[in-house]
């Protein structure tokens, strides 16, 4: 009798560990010529310390916009946050001044980008670009900053780091430049790393190496990570949980195994079907998603996916669909409420047959 409340408290403690990042009800608008279009609508998720959250979606789904909003890197003149909260380590970033935000960026939260070839400044040595970050946030001497620079470059697997720190970006290959970017992001040991398609622009062989490095560094530093990608194979490899975005909304939120076993949203299911290596649909056939994703400002009424959805019914076309909890998953789909008119979503694969590692060998393709 007396034990039961204690147990309850322990459970609630475990579930209320303060997340590193909590995004709540985020709305972002952009100027498109003369009108304003909503690109993010009610985006929300949280990342626990040490957790990796995958953020998946097609081009234009708002995943990069979400990452930029967290970093405060939205285009200053054309985009604005119109609602919501982005709480990092207990602080709402949207309430901070630009000056305060600059203190946090690169220190508590850091980001690596999709374009390693162009993300480094060609006019400065890579060492200089890392050392200035260290000096900015740690306030240490030039010498100490340079020592840290060499250390972190060597951590990310750059041989002869001492010498290479004095090289310019054009003297590095794409994969090496991404290693430099990773070193730059990690030099101040952030609590949260945002990786925006960090391997997309790299050669396939280099992709695996860089992905391994990111995973290794994440474990070594114990930091949380938001991993943005369109590549479900990569998601299977790195994520603990996955948020699927479509047309500026979160449409599904699942544990990584659940996502591959029983996608809770038809869009997720379609994404999985359009990926080679997952044995869904007739063997050897890749299913593509019909139609185009809608552009910002042109999102359909009702479920934003209904025009391309094989399960769509009348109810899907009239009003916005709320995010509902289904077991351990969340989905923005009416299929999980009582709709007699449609067949239920089925498990794609029997539970014990799917091994996410299998997905690694598959070469995923961008859904169209």
């Amino acid at each position: 009798m007396t034990a039961s409340p204690t147990t309850h408290d322990a459970v609630s403690d475990a579930t209320t560990v303060r997340p590193v990042l909590e995004v709540r009800g985020l709305f972002v608008e952009i100027d498109t010529g003369d009108q304003r279009a909503a690109v993010l609508s009610d985006v929300g998720f949280s990342i626990a310390p040490g957790e990796t959250l995958g953020l998946v979606g097609e081009s234009g789904s708002g995943k990069t916009m979400t990452a930029k909003a967290i970093m405060g890197l939205l285009p200053r003149l054309t985009a604005r946050v119109t609602g919501g909260e982005i709480v990092l380590d207990g602080v709402d970033l949207l309430g901070l001044s630009t000056k305060q935000l600059r203190e946090i960026r690169g220190d508590t939260v850091a980001m690596i980008f999709q374009e390693p070839m162009t993300s480094l400044n060609p006019a400065f040595t890579v060492g200089d670009q890392i050392a200035e970050t260290v000096r900015r946030h740690r306030g240490v001497s030039k010498k100490a900053a340079w020592a840290r620079t060499v250390e972190v470059l060597s951590d990310v697997g750059i041989a002869a780091a001492e010498r290479r720190s004095r090289s310019y970006p054009h003297e590095f290959s794409g994969g090496m430049r991404q290693r430099v970017m990773i070193a730059m992001a990690l030099c101040c040991e952030p609590a949260l790393l945002i990786a925006d398609e960090p391997t997309t622009a790299l050669d396939v062989t280099v992709q695996a190496q860089v992905l391994d490095l990111i995973r290794h560094m994440r474990e070594a530093l114990g930091m949380a990570m938001l991993f943005v990608t369109h590549d479900l194979g990569v998601i299977a490899d790195v994520s603990d949980r996955v948020v699927v975005m479509y047309a500026g909304q979160v449409v599904e939120q699942s544990g990584v195994l659940d996502l591959f076993r029983r996608p809770a949203h038809p869009y997720t299911e379609a994404l999985l079907n359009s990926m080679p290596g997952v044995e869904a649909g007739p063997r050897g056939t890749l299913l593509s998603i019909p139609g185009q994703p809608p552009a910002a400002g042109d999102f359909p009424v009702g479920c934003r996916f209904h025009q391309r959805c094989g399960y769509a019914a009348e109810e899907c076309t009239t009003a916005g669909i709320p995010l509902t909890v289904v077991g351990a998953q969340e989905t923005r789909c009416l299929l999980h409420t009582d709709l007699p008119s449609r067949p239920p979503l089925v498990d794609l694969v029997p539970e014990d047959e799917i091994v996410p590692e299998v997905l690694l060998d598959a070469e995923p393709r961008e859904p169209r």
Partner: protein, 314 residues
């Protein structure tokens, strides 16, 4: 980098040869006889011939050119036909004044043009940008002597804030030196300022959209570090080239502006030399101006090596 410097210095030789040839040829083609002018209206034919022989004007032009070139290389640009003063000495007396004026004009260009270009780029497409663009277009279309006269009328005559004409050496009185320089430097510097603002704005707009600028922001650098370190070094090539080119135009412009402000610099010397057909002096001034422009061009070229590490290899 040493190779870059060496190559650049070698390239000066043919340029200077061509300049010397052109200046020599141009003066030789100008109608009018220096010997006749020097002798005055009452000179006899014999007297003029004597002057001509004295100056070597009788010899074939190629011989004259080679002889003159040989002396010029050793720093002897001959003597003025009128004052008999060594040409280099005459230029040396006036050059500091004109150089001060030119450098001052470029300082004005940087002080006005740099912030204007930065501000316009940061507010691209907004009214601030358009205002600066209009101001730059205005500055480019008004001649420097007109600006000079307006400045004299308004600032000196109406308000009496600054002297209208004249020049005081720095050594004599630094404060007066500065007060005398402000207006002519503004008159000369407005055009380079407008050119700099435009070039800088254009280059910066491109640079600000680069991925590495996003990286600089993502690292949490201060605004001034992002802009003045990461953006400016990459955007600097075009504006620095433009300012280098403007230096030659400022030297040319000083001829007129020195007249407006009653400053006896190289510009005033040029006018006298041309009016008197003082051939050695004209040639000397052309050569000295060409050397100055070459020096500035080399400095501009070398700055590329510093600004863009990839140039050093090439």
């Amino acid at each position: 980098m040493t190779r870059l410097v060496g190559k650049r210095l070698l390239a000066v030789v043919p340029v200077m040869l061509i300049v010397s040839l052109l200046s020599f040829a141009l003066v030789a083609l100008v109608p009018g006889d220096a010997a006749a002018t020097l002798g005055g209206p009452s000179a006899t034919v014999e007297q003029i011939a004597a002057i001509r022989a004295n100056l070597g004007l009788d010899e074939p032009i190629v011989t004259r050119y080679l002889g003159w070139l040989g002396h010029a290389v050793t720093g002897d640009l001959g003597r003025s036909l009128f004052s008999d003063q060594p040409v280099l000495g005459a230029i040396g007396e006036r050059l500091p004044v004109t150089l001060t004026l030119a450098v001052g004009a470029l300082v004005v260009a940087v002080v006005l043009g740099l912030p204007a270009g930065l501000f316009a780029a940061l507010n691209r497409g907004r009214w601030q940008d358009r205002t600066i663009s209009a101001g730059a277009a205005g500055s480019l279309s008004v001649p420097n002597y007109f600006v000079g006269m307006v400045l004299i009328i308004v600032v000196s005559v109406s308000f009496g804030w600054l002297p209208a004409t004249g020049y005081t050496a720095f050594a004599a009185d630094p404060a007066e030196w500065f007060r005398h320089l402000v207006l002519p430097c503004i008159a000369l510097g407005l055009v380079p300022a407008a050119v700099l603002a435009r070039q800088l704005r254009g280059a910066l707009v491109g640079v600000l959209a680069q991925d590495y600028m996003r990286t600089a922001e993502a690292k949490g650098l201060r605004g001034d570090q992002v802009l003045l370190k990461h953006a400016l070094k990459n955007a600097a090539i075009a504006p620095i080239t433009a300012v280098g080119t403007q230096f030659a135009l400022v030297l040319g412009g000083s001829v007129v502006v020195e007249q407006v402000f009653g400053i006896s610099g190289l510009g005033a010397l040029v006018i006298t030399a041309v009016q008197q057909r003082d051939i050695p002096l004209i040639q000397g001034i052309v050569i000295v101006a060409a050397v100055l422009v070459q020096v500035v061009n080399i400095a501009v070229d070398l700055s590329y090596g510093w600004l863009n590490p990839r140039v050093r290899v090439a």
